[in-house]
Structures are given as C-alpha cells and as structure tokens.
C-alpha cells in the first residue's frame, strides 16, 4: 500500500534525520532496533538511540528513537520524527501525529488499516511483515523475532543501509551459532527483497556511508560506570535491584568475572552481595570501607531516601563510601523508567543534621568511567561519601563516547592511612586530629597493631581522639573541621568546563549531566540566529572558584536542569551566596530526554524577553 503524496513535500535528507520505532515491550523488538543504530554507526554515521520504555515487562508501549546525524549531534532533537516505524496499534494515533509533515510512516499492512487512519501529508509504506514471517516460520517465537528482522531488512532497502554491515553484526552477535546467523540473514533479505520488488524507492531520507564516528565507542553510562568501579579498585559491591541502576551492579559483576578472577586459584578478587534492601547495601559499603576495602552501591532516588541515616553516619564518622545514583523521575515511585536530575539537593545535603556531600556529575559514558574510578580515590582521600550522579538518560542509553583511557602509572590513592610501621615508629595517632590543616585526619584499618591505633567509630559526638564526648566545644570543633574538609574537596573534584561564545555576551548558561548534548547543539543554533551565550558545565559539588567567577561575569545566568525546583540553582544560591535575581531557572522535567528544540526555544524566548524589558 502506498498513499500518494506530493513528492515535492517529501522530506529529503542524507544522514540527518530522526527515526522512531513504536513497539510493544516484550516483543523482541529491542535487539532489531539496536541493530539498526549499530548499522548506521558501522557506516560511519553518528547515531544516537534512546529507549523510552514503561515500568513493565510485557505488553505496554515502548519507543526507540534514533537520531542520525552526520554533523555529530547526539541530543534528542524534539518531539517529532521523520520516519515512524509504527508496530504498536495501541499508540497508533499518537505515533502518526508525531511524524513531521512530509515524513514517512512504515507499518505492517498484514492487517488492513482504514484509509482514515493515516495522514495525507506523509508517505505511508505498508509492508506485510507478519504475513511474510508467518509464511516462512512455524514456531510462534520465531515468527515474532524474525518479523523484526524482516522489518529491519525492509528498512535497509528503503534507507540504503549496508546489509553487509548488518550481516557482520549478526556474525558477531551469534558467534559460533552459524545456523542462527544464516536464519537472520535469510529473514533480513526477505524484507529487503520485498521492498526492492514491490516499491519504487518511496523514502527520500537515506543513510550514506561517511566517516564521522572515528575511534569513538558506543556504550551506555551504567556499563561505563561499572567499569570505572573496576578500575577504581572497588572490591565490594552491595546493591539492591532498582531501575534504572541495576545494570550498573550487573555490569560490575560481568567485568569482575572477566577481569578479577585470580588465574591460579580461580577465586574472586571481589565480593558482590545483592542485599535485602538499600539500607543493608549502604551498611555493607560502610562496613567494608571502614575495614579498608573500596566499596560501592548503585541505586536510584528511592534508595537514596532509604540510605539517609547511614549516609549521615558515614559523613560524621568519616568513612568512605561511593554511591552511584542513577536518577529517575521522583518523588516517591514517580516514573521509574523516565529520566530526571531531581536528586541533586537530596544527595548534596543527605541525612539529618548539618551535612554536605561530594557529588560528581558525568555528562556521558566517558565521564561515567572517569568519575566512576575517581570517586573511589576521592572517597578514600576525603574519608566521606561520594555520589556519582548519573541519570536514566545517561545510564541506560548507549551513545557514542570517547574511548576509555587509563594511565597505567596511576596508583590507587588510599588517602591518609596510618600503618603498623607508622604506629610502631611512634607517630601520634588521633582519629579526628587535623594534623595537616586540610580537615582530613588519619585513620587506621582494624587489626593494624596489637596495642596502638585502635579507636571506636561512632555516630555520636566525640573528641579528636575518638572518645565519646558531649562537650559543646568538642562537637563544634569537629563540625567546623568537617566544613574545612568539604572546602578541601572543592580543590580535588573535577572543575567546571567553560565554553565561551564567539561574541561577547551578557548571558551565561550553567548546565550539567545529560543536558549537555542538547545544550551544545542549541548553543550552535542560537549563535546562528545571533543569540550568543557562554556555557559552563558544572561537573561536581562543592563548586570550584570558577563557578562563582562565571556567574559574576554575566548579567544573567540561566541554570538549565531537569527537575521542577531548579535544584542546582538553589544549591548555587545557597552555597555561593548568589543573588537569586541573576540566576534564571530553566527546567525541563516531564521525564522525557531534554531536547534541542526545548533548549533553543526557551533560551531565545528568555533572552528576548530580558532584552525587551
């Protein structure tokens, strides 16, 4: 079936478009969708996929959106797509609506769809996928799975995908299972040949081999962070399953199985415990770190809420702990499979009483790896919890990223540890003595020395020799020292990165984490229309001096984030004593990935209204 539209209105594009797959979850579509994105990448064209999925295993709508961009843009473009692969009758209407005028609809026309169910300003391509699959396969599961591959073959023919690249991917995926490879190749060509035989090149958006991918890798942030934990020397992982963080702990288990099994004894240089709840997870992390192992947990907002009391203990008793928070939409259960940056405030000030914590905020898988490893050095150096703030968008979507790098001369920084030799040499040990003036005391591991260096760790107040004390002076000195330590952290965490506009401007934008590709592209688009903004990507809390300087340097600074309250803005106002009037809140918090369209529109609108005022 091919609806006639004026060919003049058809979208024409090579290597710059958005394709969206609408599926039912549990239908096996995910692997075929991933093959699509990887094929484009293998053709040397940048492709960035995003999974939009429900908190459900089978039967509910799910989408897979791929931004194809030879120019290298990684962000979600906007709310529309150029080609919709509509495989889910449940969402048919909204899927049809989201196609750009002049765009394309690809669907399975095995079952008749009434003419009034289409739009007349799009090109409709019907392919009898189910029919072909049912004719070729007996087994219901095979019919389902191969239908997806037949569809991929049809798309390959329509868009000009390199079928050889897809076949190579089959070979890699089903290594050693030649029968499976052959069956997939057959299904692929079934779809491909059908299009070539029955249709006359109806789609005018194409993928053409290019060379824009380079040596970049295609990986998700959770996997990258788990690898960071391996390189950061983590040996203990205690975790409780929660979307969207589970794949981080599972990734750690996978890498440990490959990289951390002692070859001689076949025994593990790691311990991973799936706990009964998040309280036990953080409790084990704290116990292990107290005892000198590098330990972490991975969780999301609800887990952070549960861990609050323990986080306060680690802060006050000064025990390292690394917590990966893969943020999702809150509050409460919120939207478990949707992305947000809404735990910034709760992590920065986690637990009751006066507390302040170190946050590292990666923008992509490369930084997930880098900060994932760094977090362990910082936690040991500062003897305090360190949060790595991912979000679902970074954590669960594969995207192009610089290849991981490691400096082989780098040693794990275990911080200030007093050893048996130090104690034997007569070095004075007071667990909470600020001997170096940086607020960081020395610690001993349990079991170090028969008669020296033992101390009692507690969540109650104590003096500098770790003796229980309710003296106001002891308490206050300790709390002041903790503040000094937090200030020391400012110089150890990754600095914010500034990008100056081509022309001088009164306006700055502060942003962080997964907002970065949308912001980068929006900045280019705004500049093309004569709007210039300086950018500052914050990568950590506490804030370095460069953050305050950037704000001071601009008349207005927009703070762009993915939560309702403008949490980072509040943190900036509170910690740097900034006049709230000069920090303009811009928020995007519907749970969908932030788009270039949103950022461009909102900043140009804000600036024009400010200039008009």
């Amino acid at each position: 079936m091919l609806h006639k539209v004026n060919t003049q209105t058809k979208i024409q594009s090579i290597n710059e478009f958005v394709i969206k797959f609408a599926n039912v979850n549990g239908s096996g579509s995910a692997s075929a969708n991933a093959l699509f994105a990887k094929t484009v990448l293998r053709m040397g064209v940048v492709a960035t996929p995003r999974n939009i999925f429900p908190s459900n295993i089978q039967g509910l709508p799910t989408w897979y959106e791929v931004r194809v961009s030879e120019a290298g843009h990684l962000a979600a473009r906007g709310d529309t797509c150029d080609l919709m692969v509509a495989m889910n009758p449940q969402t048919w209407e909204q899927d049809i609506r989201s196609i750009e005028p002049g765009g394309y609809l690809f669907y399975d026309n095995t079952r008749h769809v009434a003419a009034d169910q289409f739009r007349n300003d799009i090109t409709v391509i019907g392919v009898p996928l189910t029919q072909m699959s049912n004719d070729a396969y007996e087994n219901p599961r095979q019919r389902q799975l191969f239908k997806n591959i037949i569809g991929l073959g049809a798309l390959a023919a329509l868009l000009g995908l390199d079928t050889k690249a897809i076949e190579d991917l089959f070979t890699e995926q089903f290594k050693g299972k030649e029968k499976l490879v052959a069956a997939n190749v057959q299904a692929l060509h079934m779809g491909f040949d059908w299009v070539k035989t029955h249709l006359d090149d109806p789609v005018h958006i194409k993928v053409k081999a290019a060379n824009t991918v380079g040596d970049r890798i295609f990986v998700d942030g959770n996997t990258a962070a788990s690898l960071g934990a391996v390189y950061g020397g983590a040996t203990v992982c205690a975790w409780y399953p929660i979307t969207p963080s589970s794949s981080l702990a599972e990734g750690f288990a996978n890498y440990c199985a490959k990289l951390r099994v002692d070859k001689e004894t076949d025994r593990n240089k790691f311990a991973i415990v799936q706990t009964e709840d998040e309280l036990a997870s953080i409790g084990m992390v704290i116990g292990a770190a107290w005892n000198g192992a590098r330990a972490f947990t991975a969780t999301s907002g609800p887990g952070i809420s549960l861990m609050q009391e323990f986080i306060g203990l680690a802060y006050f008793a000064e025990i390292p702990a690394v917590i990966f928070d893969v943020q999702r939409a809150g509050p409460s259960t919120g939207m478990p499979t949707r992305t947000q940056q809404s735990d910034i405030m709760t992590c920065a000030y986690a637990s009751h009483g006066d507390t302040k914590h170190v946050l590292l905020i990666p923008e992509d898988p490369y930084e997930c790896f880098e900060f994932g490893a760094l977090a362990f050095d910082l936690a040991d150096r500062l003897q305090t919890p360190v949060f790595v703030m991912l979000d679902l968008e970074i954590g669960m979507n594969e995207r192009l990223s610089k290849p991981f790098q490691w400096d082989d001369s780098r040693n794990l920084d275990r911080g200030k540890i007093m050893t048996e030799e130090d104690l034997e040499a007569g070095n004075k040990f007071g667990r909470y003595l600020d001997v170096d003036g940086d607020g960081i005391p020395f610690r001993t591991y349990p079991g170090t020395h028969p008669s020296k260096g033992a101390f009692f760790t507690r969540g109650t107040s104590k003096d500098s020799m770790a003796r229980y004390s309710e003296e106001g002076k002891d308490y206050q000195e300790n709390m002041e020292r903790l503040l000094k330590k937090h200030d020391t952290a400012r110089h150890l965490v990754p600095a914010a990165i500034e990008k100056r506009a081509e022309k001088p401007t009164r306006f700055g934008v502060i942003y962080y984490g997964s907002t970065s590709p949308a912001m980068d592209e929006a900045c280019q688009l705004l500049a093309q229309s004569g709007i210039h903004v300086d950018l500052l990507r914050v990568r950590a809390f506490p804030f370095g001096d460069e953050v305050k300087a950037f704000i001071a340097d601009h008349e207005k600074t927009f703070v762009l984030e993915q939560n309702r309250e403008g949490q980072l803005r509040s943190l900036l106002i509170n910690e740097l004593e900034i006049n709230p009037a000069i920090l303009v809140k811009i928020v995007h918090f519907d749970g969908a990935p932030i788009t270039v369209g949103f950022v461009t529109d909102v900043i140009s609108h804000k600036i024009s209204s400010l200039q008009g005022a």
Partner: protein, 351 residues
C-alpha cells in the same frame, strides 16, 4: 562526664595468657550502664573468653547498633577497633567489614530492640548469608535507654514497670536463627558465667554464623513483678544452674547436671523462670529437632539454654562468594586495576 578511662596500674602479679596479655589488656573504659546491669556481665564474659582463648585483641572487630546493649563494646576489648553503627543495622556493617577482611574475628553485639524490632530484617539476612561472626543479643525484653517500653521479645502477658500488659506475641530470635540457617545457636544468661563464657569461646571458634541469645536483666526497667525477664533472682541462684564445662569449636558441650533437669526459678518479684539443660538424648547437630524441642519447651513456659545447635562443617559467606584467600582490603593497584591493555580490548568491543 561522658568518658571514664580506667586506671592503668594493676597488680604486677596479674596472670598472663599465652600471648603475654593480662585480663586487664582486654578491658575497656569504665561502663556507664546502670549498676548491676546484665550487659556488664556479658562484657565480662567476653573479656574472659577472649583472654582465655589467647586471642590477640586487635584481631577482633566489635560492632554494634544502638541501645544499651550496643554501648557495651566500648567497655571491653579496648585494643580492638569498634564500630557503634546505627539502630538495627549492625549486621550489614559487620557483613561489609567481614567482606573486606576475612582474617579478623567479628563480634556483633546487639539488643532485643536492635535485632528483633528495627533490625529484624538485617538480623535475618546476616544469619541466612552465613556471615562468619559471633552475633550476641543481650536480651532484656525492654527498651532501656528510652526508659521502659516493651521490646519485641517481651512475652505476651508480661507487665511493664508502669503496669501495661503486653498483648503482642514475642519474637523468638533463637527459633529464627535456627530456621534461617545459623550454624551455631546458643542461649544463655548474663548471670551464668560458667555457661556463657564457654559458649562465647565456642562461638568465637566457629567459622560461620554463630548466634547467642543472652538473657540479660534490665535492673532499671524490667526487674519487677509481672516481668518475664527479670533475672536478679537467677543471678542469686547461679550456682544452682547447670553450666558448660569447656567447649572447643567442634566439640559438643559437657553438662554438669543430670540431663533433662528442669529448674524453676521464682524471682523475688514473683515471676518464674524454668530452665532446662540440654538432655542427653538431645542431638546438637539436628536443626529440625532443635527447633521442635525449643517450641515444645517454650509451650510449657520453659527456656532452654546452652548450646542448642552446631554444624561441625559450616560454610560462610566468603565460601559462597568464592573469594580469594588474601583479604580484599589488602589488594593493591596491581591486583585490582586491569590497565590500558585490557581497556583497549573493551573499547574495541564497543565499536
């Protein structure tokens, strides 16, 4: 005053153990618990057990939660690292510590509020994981630090000091420990040193999850008429109770008294306690029989004490996790960080 150091001087003739330590070397600062508190007797029993076992004090890590019981680690083993964590969460902290260094001995001290109420989940899960530890609950059936509320081990029908009647069923930690796979389970009394010290010694020698429910009277809030956990009377009659002779890791206990003897202890406030020593036909290696026996005797209002169950071949969490012999906390950069060559291969797999 919040901290009281003990005077350092002591009798020059104090007996030394095989390591050359006196019993004083295993003590801590002065206890701030109420005079006569059962918990102090448990501390003393721990000191004696560790001294007599010739254990180097710094090779023990003592961990606790929150409450009167959890304060006690301050008062024993002053040369050991201690960790007073958060309420009900000692088991997870201990588990983590154990994962980091399997070579230390882990002594977890908790109370009935800490383990049977807020920490019931962590108690259960640490036991079922088989963490190599000695987990002692100083059980007095009452919240002491908050002044006398019922705890979850208070017996149904017990009266509080203020006269309130407990209508909730009691949680039986021994029954749970047996059911959840603890490989060493005992119950004892803070006042019965002869029984408690050998039991602790045996537990310290056990390479798996060892649990001891130690009834320990609260002299301030649960020592009155109508209480089922007031033990002044038992302390007064301690010599009348059976005690364990000597236990090593895998040896069954030896009982001084005739097997099957039941003692009914009527306390000065009128409450009664019946104690049953382990019968000669009682098999300490039969978990199911132990559970059944405990419940049968409990139905008769008796409390069975002693070593209740021991698995002579326990497997601990490290065995389940197949960790290397060397403690994880001793591994350095070379052992842990795979380096750029491995990373190149990983990068290649993502292209």
């Amino acid at each position: 005053m919040t901290f009281m150091a003990k005077p350092k001087f002591h009798h020059p003739q104090l007996q030394k153990n095989a390591l050359g330590y006196t019993r004083r070397d295993y003590e801590g600062p002065v206890s701030t618990l109420c005079a006569g508190c059962g918990h102090d007797s448990i501390s003393a029993a721990i000191i004696r057990a560790v001294y007599e076992l010739d254990l180097p004090p710094h090779r023990i890590a003592k961990l606790s939660g929150i409450g009167c019981s959890s304060k006690t680690p301050t008062y024993f083993l002053g040369a050991s690292h201690g960790f007073n964590s958060v309420h009900g969460r000692m088991p997870s902290v201990l588990t983590g510590a154990n994962l980091a260094n399997k070579d230390l001995i882990y002594l977890g001290i908790s109370g009935d509020g800490d383990s049977a109420s807020i920490g019931l989940g962590q108690f259960a899960h640490s036991v079922r994981r088989g963490v190599n530890m000695v987990y002692i609950v100083a059980n007095n059936g009452v919240y002491g630090l908050t002044k006398g509320q019922f705890s979850a081990t208070s017996d149904k029908g017990a009266k509080s000091k203020r006269g309130a009647l407990n209508k909730d069923e009691a949680i039986d930690l021994v029954g749970m420990a047996l059911q959840l796979g603890a490989t060493f389970v005992g119950r004892s009394f803070s006042g019965d040193k002869d029984q408690l010290v050998p039991l602790i010694k045996a537990a310290l020698n056990h390479k798996g999850a060892a649990f001891i429910d130690c009834l320990s009277p609260c002299v301030a809030f649960n020592n009155h008429d109508g209480s089922t956990k007031s033990f002044d009377y038992i302390r007064e009659h301690n010599e009348a109770l059976n005690s364990l002779d000597f236990i090593t890791g895998r040896q069954e206990i030896t009982v001084e008294y005739k097997p099957g003897t039941v003692e009914t202890v009527t306390q000065h406030d009128g409450s009664r306690l019946r104690l049953r020593k382990i019968a000669d036909d009682y098999d300490v290696h039969d978990r199911i029989a132990a559970l059944s026996y405990m419940q049968q005797r409990a139905a008769h209002g008796e409390i069975v004490t002693g070593l209740l169950y021991v698995d002579p071949e326990p497997q601990d969490l490290h065995a389940h996790l197949n960790t290397i012999e060397q403690p994880l906390n001793s591994l350095g950069t070379h052992a842990l960080v795979p380096g750029q060559t491995a990373l190149d291969k990983i990068n290649a797999a993502f292209r």
